[in-house]
Amino acid sequence: MPNDIVLSMRNISKSFPGVRALHDVDFTLNKGEIHALMGENGAGKSTLIKVLTGVYPKDAGQIHIEDCEKEASIKSPQDAQNLGISTVYQEITLCPNLTVAENMFIGRGNYRFVNWQTMRDKTREILEKLNIPARATQQLATCSLAVQQMVAIARAVDMECKVLILDEPTSSLDEREVGKLFTLMRELKSRGVGIIFITHFLEQVYEVCDRITVLRNGELIGAYDVKDLPRVQLISKMMGKELDDISQMHSKSPTGERSGNVHVLEAEGLSSVAATKAFDFKIDRGEVNGFTGLLGSGRSECVRAIFGADKVTGGKVLVNGKPVKIAKPKDAMKLGIGYLPEDRKQDGIVDELSVRENIILALQVMRGFFRPFSRSEAEKFADEYIKLLGIKTASSDTPIKSLSGGNQQKAILARWLLTKPQYLILDEPTRGIDVGTKVEIQKLVLQLAQDGVSVTFISSEIEEMLRTCSRLIVMRDREIVGELMQDDMTQAKIMHTIAGEAAQND
């Protein structure tokens, strides 16, 4: 059925200095199909998309749109858009200082004059249709990350597209919003739009997709119907090896040693300017606990308060039983606390600096302004952790911005491991990274715990939390509403606690 094909890419190749990002990759998308593009970090998914959308020029290969005989020439994102290819990238690429309506219409069509009123009315209509909780005249920056993402999708959808590319659209959405997005995707599908869906969430692939194309190391592994490719096979195809059974890990989850009554960290009535309710918190040596709750429930704010990332407004903190004052991140670092922030790009990496400089940064700061590491010392540290965590980089001198997301995250993780913390806070360490790396990070967390490091682990994926944590702190509306241990830690129980039903049973 050649007539059903909306997009076909043949023998696409693309190289970067020192890296062959794509080699002879074929990709075919049918009308009215949701097609998952799967692969680990650095497999070439994003590069393929960027070639398709004209962000990168391709080195070789052809792209055909619909049944057009002529090769489509896509030299810029504008060309792609004119051909009906719309993209929503992993990172939000809208302008936060403009209004929602302006963001929806900016850079579309070749008009010289703008009718602001029509624009707003139209925007309002679209927002209503898609159930997006934003006002047309609202400044985008004042919307939550999730709403911003939805506006980006709405913008793409509204542009009469034939091919819609969703590059990790769900990584910052909570479950309810994901559901809404899927409804939207299915509707578009029924209208005949071909959707390329890139995600790291396997569940979502199996929930919504029809076909799967798997890439590995820049090469095509194959294209499969979803029903013909069970999960385990998909994962092993992505990784190129059999995945050890992750579910085994749960039983190993340590509960922490109860060494008397002294906790590694104990907070009482802690509150910060980020407006969470004052909360109590404690963690034992070698314990892994987690904060869970919907997006915006205050989980990040809690750990930020512990680390001193936001201004602390009250409360007592004891580290190893001794009262301490944590007013700024450096205080926390000196006490052996590490914090991997939620937003890797904004708060984590220093993008123009090299991988080496990014890795040694925290340890260097702890060592002091007047005692810089020599080049060879820094190189030794960086190389050690690049090897230990398997960070894929051309050298330790490469700017960190040219690494893939998962490898950037590993570098930030290396930064904190290098400081040899006694308590490590990981806020969404697995967001937007591939399955293989996710498992590696989870294993690392458990390994750390066995070595006596206490870890607080936050993730939007409840399965992941269940696998790694021995105690879950449940949050709702910026308040801790429950704590679950051992047998209570089931999906259902967590959901109930988040929803507020368990509170009555207590």
């Binding site: 190289s15 970067f16 990168y56 991140p329 922030p341 904004q346 984590g348 220093v350 600096l353 810089p372």
Partner: protein, 357 residues
């Protein structure tokens, strides 16, 4: 060898070096005598070196020193300090005021210099506070002292343009007996060595770049971002006071209206020619210093060509446009494509397509 060459091509120092070489080449064709260095005896009876090259190195001293400080401010605060000329007038005025009220001896000169230094550091702290604490854009924040600085300098010396005469000042402003090289050149060398030692033995470079690239991340790694910005402005203050004192020593007087006039623009240009992003982040001090000498070499060349001093600025502007456009990413990419077409063989070996575009 080729590896070294490739590395160099990527380096931000390439543009300033090429510009400098072109200038030298141009002068070689124009008049080879431009490069002659003579040994003469000056009015004080010293045997000294003279010639265009010496004059370039000598006259660029103040600019080079200020460009060093400007580089740090640019890197950390993503903006420039446009009050440097005015603050130099303040520092110079304090320097002169102290000298005027005492018998000029070396200790007094040191005290006077320290006085000027303190004044300039205070100005830097003022700018730094506006930028780092109140988050005002650097150009707006420093506009205040750009406007108010020279009037303050006027007030320090009661409105006069006093002269200070002493052979000791001559030692600083022109030559030390027995040393044929102008003292300002020696001061620049000494200062550059100190700065590179500071960069080598502290984390100034790493912290400054981290703050300039990603302030939030720097803070979460325990770096005091506000403090680093503050520090960079105060260090610029030190640079400015040194430049101001050299300026005063050259002339033996302070004219608060004209001392180091318009140097802020040249300093910003020097930073830009040196390949540093004016939007902050990574920096190269060597690039900025080279930028300063390029600007001065250009001026001297134009004077040697008997261009009138009022027209010099226009010619300078043309050359600077050329340098800056040549260094822009758009032209750079175009040049790479052009080279790949001309020498298709090298394409595969280098693969220099836009990295992380």
């Amino acid at each position: 060898m080729t590896k070294w060459l490739k590395k160099f091509q990527k380096s931000q120092l390439m543009i300033p070096l090429v510009a400098l070489l072109l200038l030298i080449f141009f002068n070689m064709i124009r008049d080879i005598g431009f490069f002659s260095i003579n040994i003469t005896t000056n009015n004080d009876g010293n045997t000294v070196l003279s010639g265009n090259l010496i004059s370039i190195l000598n006259s660029a001293s103040e600019l080079a020193i200020i460009a060093i400080g400007m580089t740090l401010v640019t890197a950390s605060s993503k903006g420039q300090d446009i009050s440097v000329g005015a603050v130099a007038a303040i520092a110079g005025s304090v320097f002169v005021r102290v000298l005027k009220e005492h018998n000029i001896t070396w200790p007094i000169i040191l005290v006077a210099f320290l006085g000027g230094c303190v004044a300039a550091i205070l100005c830097g702290a003022f700018n730094g506070a506006l930028v780092a604490i109140f988050k005002i854009q650097p150009m707006i924040a420093t506009l205040i002292l750009l406007t108010a600085g020279r009037p303050i300098a006027y007030w320090i010396n009661g409105g006069a343009t006093p002269t200070v005469e002493s052979p000791l000042l001559g030692y600083i402003g022109s030559f030390i007996p027995g040393i044929p090289i102008p003292t300002p050149i020696l001061i620049v060398i000494a200062f550059a060595i100190i700065v590179s030692l500071v960069l080598r033995f502290t984390n100034l470079g790493l912290y400054t770049q981290a703050v300039g690239i990603n302030e939030k991340s720097a803070r979460l790694n325990g770096i005091n971002a506000v403090g680093m910005k503050f520090l960079s402005f105060m260090m610029l203050g030190v640079c400015v006071s040194i430049a101001g004192c050299i300026g005063v020593s050259r002339m033996g007087l302070i004219n608060h209206e004209t001392i180091l006039l318009d140097i802020e623009m040249d300093a910003i240009l020097a930073v830009a020619i040196g390949g540093n992003a004016l939007s902050g982040g990574k920096f190269s001090i060597a690039g900025s210093v080279m930028g300063a000498y390029i600007i001065q070499a250009l001026t001297t060349t134009l004077y040697a060509m008997k261009v009138s001093s009022t027209a010099v600025k226009a010619y300078k502007a043309i050359v600077i446009i050329a340098i800056v456009v040549l260094g822009s990413p758009v032209v750079q990419r175009y040049l790479l494509i052009l080279r790949d077409r001309l020498f298709p063989k090298t394409v595969k070996a280098e693969e220099k397509q836009a990295y992380g575009d």
